[in-house]
């Protein structure tokens, strides 16, 4: 029964993660990651257009680049990889819960993660965070196994997984303190000094690979710059991060986690402590980390699911009275159903809220870029408002694109001065202008400059991608992207 439920959970997880996966093209962040992956493995035009490194950990990019080399640099390849990782994470969540409690909790935990809106959305977006979250979850499973068996080799396995997480996403360093805090705490575990030192050496060695690889490739300053950016940069505000991520965990998971926390006040074991630490410490560190992304907290989703699963399994204790098995099952089914509906609503709404943090992809970007790829001569150069949107065009159109927010080409932005778009147009070195509504909203000044170039240089509209919206009860169309040809 448990195996069948687990299989059903895995299938559900897969379905939710691949449903309509190719409907919207990559957004700017995804395109940058996918472009880097293609460039790193020398994948055709991507190698010319995207930097092979951006100062970040590159294990995910290497895996993706390898897939690109085999299947071609298609967005769906990247998305399917992340979706598959999401499904495997659900199975890893099963392993975590199984190490702590029984098959029932484990199955429920896997199902909760499979249906959790936050994790579904995170594992539909191309980025390293979900793979890092898988490694972190496997590390958690190993620590749980160590705590339950007190066998040192599990700490080694946990350290290896944590090391791989660091090679995937440097922000996984937020899990390192809680790992060592827990395994070295004598109240909960007993570990030999040798094992502890060994684990520390493993994590340290893996962590050292990142700067070493950059240093030996002659790109040390790039890595140093990324550290400075990560520490001093400005990402999404922490309150926005909390405001968007916490609701996306889903009502069932949140209530369940709170329920288990309430139960733990009465009787606390290493299990609740480990899960609690694994959620609270990294969350605090990652919220303090200035360079935040929506998927940063993917690593705390599995322990939250395990806590919630425990609450569902311990429902009688939680409500303080015996419940009929059918009632317990019904409550679990309702809880899972609420999650599933939340996720389905989010995914169903996707076309209307694209561009927000919730839904990966950007409407119109891929269509426009593909049109450009088919109709604009190879070697043509494009100018757009924002460098981020330029990345989307470069990934799909495979044409060099400058962004007014940083007019240097993406592939060379770190070592080339900004170009003068006006001069480039006059020299026929820049032949097309691409306006888009997303960048225009974010950077109205640059968008106005872009249109001023279009007006000055005899722009001729050659393509338009339109969206529809309801205005005063009427369905109206509006431009999402416009491609102009300009001539000096």
């Amino acid at each position: 029964m448990a195996a069948a439920l687990l299989a059903a959970g895995a299938l559900t997880a897969l379905y939710l993660r691949v449903w309509g996966l190719g409907a919207i093209g990559l957004d700017a962040t995804e395109a940058a990651t996918a472009g880097e992956a293609g460039s790193l493995l020398g994948s055709g035009a991507l190698a010319q257009l995207f930097p092979s490194a951006r100062g970040e950990a590159q294990l995910f990019q290497l895996v993706l680049g390898g897939l690109f080399a085999v299947f071609g640099a298609h967005d769906i390849v990247a998305r399917l990889l992340v979706a598959a990782i999401g499904v495997v994470t659900a199975l890893a969540t099963y392993a975590v819960a199984r190490s702590m409690w029984g098959a029932r909790e484990a199955t429920l935990a896997a199902l909760l993660l499979a249906l959790m809106p936050y994790h579904v959305i995170a594992s539909r977006a191309v980025g390293p965070e979900v793979l890092a979250a898988l490694w972190v979850t496997l590390s958690l499973a190993a620590v749980a196994r160590f705590a339950s068996t007190e066998r040192g080799p599990w700490v080694t396995v946990g350290a290896v997984c944590l090391g791989l997480a660091l090679l995937t996403d440097a922000s996984s360093i937020a899990y390192v303190p809680v790992f060592f805090l827990f395994v070295s705490h004598r109240r909960w575990t007993s570990i030999s000094r040798g094992t502890l030192v060994g684990a520390f050496a493993i994590v340290g060695s893996f962590g050292f690979v990142l700067p070493l690889a950059y240093g030996l490739s002659g790109q040390g300053p790039l890595w140093a710059g990324s550290i400075v950016r990560a520490l001093l940069g400005s990402g999404r505000p922490w309150y926005l991060q909390l405001g968007e991520v916490v609701p996306a965990f889903g009502l069932t998971v949140l209530l369940g986690a709170v329920g288990t926390a309430v139960l733990a006040r009465r009787r606390r074991t290493w299990r609740e402590v480990l899960l609690g630490l694994w959620i609270v410490v990294p969350s605090a560190l990652l919220l303090a980390w200035p360079d935040r992304t929506f998927a940063d907290l993917a690593g705390i989703a599995p322990p939250l699911a395990v806590l919630a699963a425990r609450a569902l399994a311990e429902l009688p204790r939680l409500v303080g009275r015996e419940l009929a098995p059918t009632t317990e099952m019904a409550v679990s089914a309702v809880g899972l159903g609420v999650l599933a509906i939340s996720t389905a609503i989010l995914l169903g709404m996707a076309p209307n809220i694209a561009g927000s943090a919730h839904v990966p992809g950007i409407i119109g970007g891929r269509d426009t870029a593909r049109w450009i790829g088919e109709h604009v001569p190879p070697g043509a150069a494009l100018l757009t408002t924002d460098r981020a949107f330029a990345g989307v065009l470069e990934f799909y159109a495979q044409r060099e694109t400058l962004g007014l927010t940083s007019s240097a080409p993406l592939a060379t932005s770190d070592d080339r001065p900004n170009e003068n778009p006006d001069l480039l147009i006059r020299q026929s070195a820049l032949q097309y202008i691409v306006w888009d509504t997303y960048s225009a909203e974010a950077f109205p000044g640059e968008a106005d400059r872009l249109l001023a170039y279009a007006e000055r240089y005899n722009a001729r509209e050659i393509y338009r991608f339109e969206g529809e919206r309801l205005t005063a009860g009427e369905r109206t169309t509006f431009p999402i992207t416009i491609v102009y040809e300009v001539r000096p």
Binding site: T149, P153, L212, A213, S217, A380
Partner: protein
Amino acid sequence: MPAAVRLALVLLVTTLAAVVLLAPPEASPADAQAARPPRTPIEHFIVLMQQNHSFDNYFGSYPGADGVPRDTCVPIAPDRADSECVRPFRLGMSPARDLPHDAAAFRAQFRDGQMNGFVAAALQPGSTVHPTMGHYDGEDIPYYWNVADNFVLFDRFFQSSTGGSFANHMFWMAGTSAGLDAVPPRGVPANIPTIFDRLSQAGVSWKVYVEDYDPSVTYRTLASAPPNRRAQVSWVPLLAIDRFLDDPVLNGRIVDLSEYFADLERGSLPNVAYVVPASSSEHPPGSIAAGQSLVRNLVTTLMRSRYWETAAFAWTYDSAGGWYDHVAPPEVDRDGYGFRVPALLVSAYAREGVVDHTELDFTSFLRFIEENWDLQPLATRDARANSIREALDFTVPPRSPVFLSSTRRETVTRSSYLPTYLLYGGAVVAAGVLTALSLRRATRVEPASA
């Protein structure tokens, strides 16, 4: 017959005879026949003449071309057996000097085919710098190298004359220098036909586009023209030929370069266009970047126009400019050849990424024009010259335009990422081994019930 009438008749006959004898038969557009269709799909041929760079100076290190031999070292004093020698070196962004490049300099460099006088010919007393051996590469002239990668680079293209600019521009337009190496004070003799005369006679449209064109500067006003404007006549010998100055139709076809872009835009590009740069000619110490930018603009604008599929665009350099070139030029007549110069061809029909080894000179462009529009040769040289025709392949459909970058994109080699591959790969393998060993140990010691 009264004496006055007889005198008038004599004058009339003499004048008519002079007109018949001196004027080229096809000089007047009034004689133009109906436009003659081209023999190939090339309905528009544009040719540009830049200035003063040798083949080795620009493409001596280009893969697949007849470039500078590895062991090249040119003696400072070629007459002395123990002379020190100078090896080729990359100029990069170093400022370039205007080196001696007239007929006398050619003889000193050529040294009867020994090709070892380049350093000595440009030697300046007290100077230890030997710029003549300097050269550029793909990082310095990326657009030109990108063009070579995608279209045709000629590596046996010689300047027609060992002389200076005027003689070579004469060969370019008339197939002969007429023995002239500078603008003659009385102008070029009227009986020297040019390719434009032939084109006019055949009803084939033409124009000469001149950068920074000043119509007031001709051979007649040379003495009073500003010094920095006088070279315009050397570069456009038509401005030293009376009929091209006096006939408003002919004169009207010599226009400013801005008209090239206007003609492409409004659909009035002539069948044959000569382009003469001024400030963007790359003549040292002028900026090669400016020249490259001009060429890119001309080519890209052509590619974006309605003419791409029916046009060919070629450019070359009027002189090697005193820069070293290792190939001894063949002696075809008393004028030349001079040293090799770079030459490239861009067209929808141009062979892709080909280094063409055909022996060519400036009159090869004339030969192509003459073949394409069925015109009579102008002189012995163009009648015997090889055409650039073989660089075009009309058996395949026209290629789509490709806008080439002004940066050199070297092929990305995976070896540069070797540390990344090795370290990450090693880490993953180590992770696998460590995990496998740890799991074995953990499973072995773990009670079965756990």
